[in-house]
Symmetry: C2
Subunit: 422 residues, 2 copies
């Protein structure tokens, strides 16, 4: 396979302009081997992942391009010889494409980032043998390797105005809180999420299913250029690769794996966003879903996640921060406020003892009139409380300024402070 | 206390037209004692509940109306003498009202239902000493005691058109499935729930905070008349009692206790409906909440229940039936259909082995063109699969009618059957 020059100078030539900050010869050879690997495999190739993990990318590639043998090394990787033979059958026909793919990357200004780089997103390591062999990147590579929090905001292409608004709002909130927004650059929710993050001056990362040099979808060419200029556009497939359905599904695992949590903003009953959600759950990453009207088909998938996948209900940026484990110190709006207790505004008759004082107060206020003065006895009868208790409680209400002595008894001076019941 | 005639003839006179199907003298005396009790206490009076449970309503009432003593009997009820003395202070001033309240019930055509009746809703027994001493009823008493499933549909007074629609829809679905709809007759969600049940010819029960002879709210006079004519209007307070704030809160526990599950359709961040939800949770009854737009203030309380009270997300009648434990055989719409698996439409790369076949098929379909015929080798290279596997898979796709042999290779005959990705 001509694409593999396993020496420093050959690798330097092949990677010129792609990995030009690699000064060390070994680094160059490793990066070059990974670049070639990305040309040979489809995403998530378990045999390739196992060989690379066991033998390193360079030796693994030498085993891959050999036409036979290497049984001992395959065994070390836990790969059976029959599996290796089958894998070679699918890898070899692609070997000849590698030089052209690297030339395309060079022309497009794409850079390679590998697990050996500081800029490698360490969260991807959780994918084990299904991790990408490298990433191809347009834009600044530094945000990829950042340990700052990151959230996946994904959802329907055919989104509603409501969904777009919520996606933009969550993305802007994330940007304000220093959280990177990761999505797939699709029409609808993905685009709104990227756009919201950009508009708020935040970091956003677009993961593509095809080569990074192909704007996909075409209508998002401008958006992708803005993301590349101020964030990151990345893909595991090499330049020149087309975005196939399989690669969309594989790309979804990267969106889930590269983030601390996934939030589905809008999704139909069957939606690709559910595939991303599934990957997040499989990786043990927190999963959130934004509710919507039950009459809206574009929220049916979100409600399904709430019901069937125990997704957290996300109503705003505060809920999203809580999902990311950033609850404390990041209460950005009132949606999850100080008083979390359900029904605290109302008396609890079932277990009434604890709230006796508040309940008696309610009953006493009920028994007072704003217009006509009532005697203590009359108030006691109306409230169903003993006259002695009423005398004491009226004094307390007077101190609170809600009851007042008049000739002939007591009146309520203003309506009760608590909100009216429904 | 003149209202208590503890003999058959006195009770018969007092209850004429109120409990006239009670033929037995003892029954009459018991029902009369409970009728008087309902005039003495506010809802959820624990001391009254304990005395009645220990001594029976008649003897308990004799203890209550005595001015002192009865220490032994109080002790049997677990009531301290000081508590009893205090309770007498609040009960005695109301004794004189009882005859007028019973006369009002008679004029209004209200009937009394007691725990001794077949028509007593047995679910209320879960309230223990906080259970009502009796119910005052307009309409047919039989549905109260029915063992058929019942659901509480409650929510905001200031509901949206969306909330009203969903409440009507759920109520109509409940009616069609033989589920009684219980609510509080308030404006907004409550009214929509009752109306939806009536329109669908179902059973509906309105629980009021004041006397059943007072239409409350006044604007629901017609609705309450229709409910009384074809369902049940009930209250634990006697006729003539006004609907105070305390009584609304107490009434909410009855709505929760009389049903198998409570569903909050729409509720603001602080809403009386959350109080009903709290009672349902405290009683261990299933709790559901209908989601809505996160931008809608009238859904904020529902989302709070989903987040903080682990309420089930209810998107339609099928979800509601599942909440009631009626899932099997009651799949009335498609919202919880046959295929519950999340993300099943997409390949799972993280744990990809199980779905290998479906994944390979996707990759092969990706590699076929509808326009130009491609060779097996070309298809294998594009799909990243071995040529032998491709040859076999192409045969299978041909059998499925999605691929076709042409001169020069293979074409895709129609788009893939699965839905497009987002």
């Amino acid at each position: 396979m001509s694409a593999l020059d396993v020496d420093g100078m050959g690798a330097r030539r092949a990677l010129a302009g792609i990995a030009d900050d690699l000064s060390d010869g070994d680094d160059l050879v490793v990066a070059h081997a990974r670049a070639v690997w990305s040309c040979l495999v489809e995403p998530g190739d378990r045999i390739a992942g196992a060989l690379i993990a066991a033998l390193g990318p360079v030796r693994a590639l030498e085993v891959a391009v050999a036409s036979r043998g290497s049984g001992d090394e395959a065994a070390r990787a836990g790969v059976e010889l029959a599996e290796l033979a089958k894998a070679r059958e699918r890898w070899h026909p692609r070997g000849g494409d590698a030089p052209e793919r690297l030339a395309t990357a060079r022309r497009a200004g794409a850079r390679i980032v590998t697990p050996e780089d500081h800029a490698w997103p360490r969260r991807l390591d959780d994918l084990g043998p299904f991790a990408p062999v490298c990433l191809w990147v347009l834009g600044d590579t530094a945000p990829l390797g950042s340990a700052d929090p990151a959230v996946a905001l994904v959802g329907a292409r055919a989104s509603s105005a409501y969904g777009n608004f919520v996606a933009e709002d969550l993305a802007a909130g994330a940007a304000a809180a220093g959280i990177a927004v990761v999505s797939g650059a699709a029409y609808g929710i993905d685009g709104a999420a990227h756009g919201g993050a950009l508009a708020a001056g935040g970091v956003t990362i677009a993961l593509l299913a095809g080569g990074v040099e192909r704007p996909y979808p075409a209508g998002h060419r401008d958006l992708l250029e803005r993301i590349a200029a101020r964030g990151v556009v990345a893909a595991e497939v090499p330049c020149g690769a087309s975005p196939t359905k399989w690669r969309f599904l594989a790309r979804n695992r990267l969106i889930a794996a590269m983030t601390d949590a996934t939030v589905v903003v809008e999704a139909a009953w069957r939606s690709g966003a559910l595939n991303t959600a599934h990957h997040a759950a499989a990786l043990g990453r927190p999963l959130g879903a934004v509710p919507g009207a039950v009459t809206s088909a574009t929220s049916a998938g979100c409600h399904r996640l709430l019901r069937e996948a125990q997704a957290e209900c996300i109503t705003g940026i505060a809920d999203m921060c809580e999902l990311l484990g950033l609850g404390a110190g990041l209460e950005l709006d009132g949606s999850t406020g100080a008083d979390g207790a359900v029904g605290e505004g109302g008396g609890n008759v079932v277990g009434g003892v604890a709230r006796r004082g508040a309940d008696d107060r309610t009953r006493l206020l009920d028994a007072l009139s704003e217009r006509s003065a009532r005697t203590t006895l009359d108030i006691a009868r109306r409230a169903g409380l003993g006259p002695d208790d009423v005398a004491i409680l009226l004094g307390l209400l007077e101190l609170d300024g809600v009851a007042e002595r008049r000739s002939g008894g007591w009146v309520r001076t203003k309506p009760p402070k608590t909100a009216p019941l429904w």
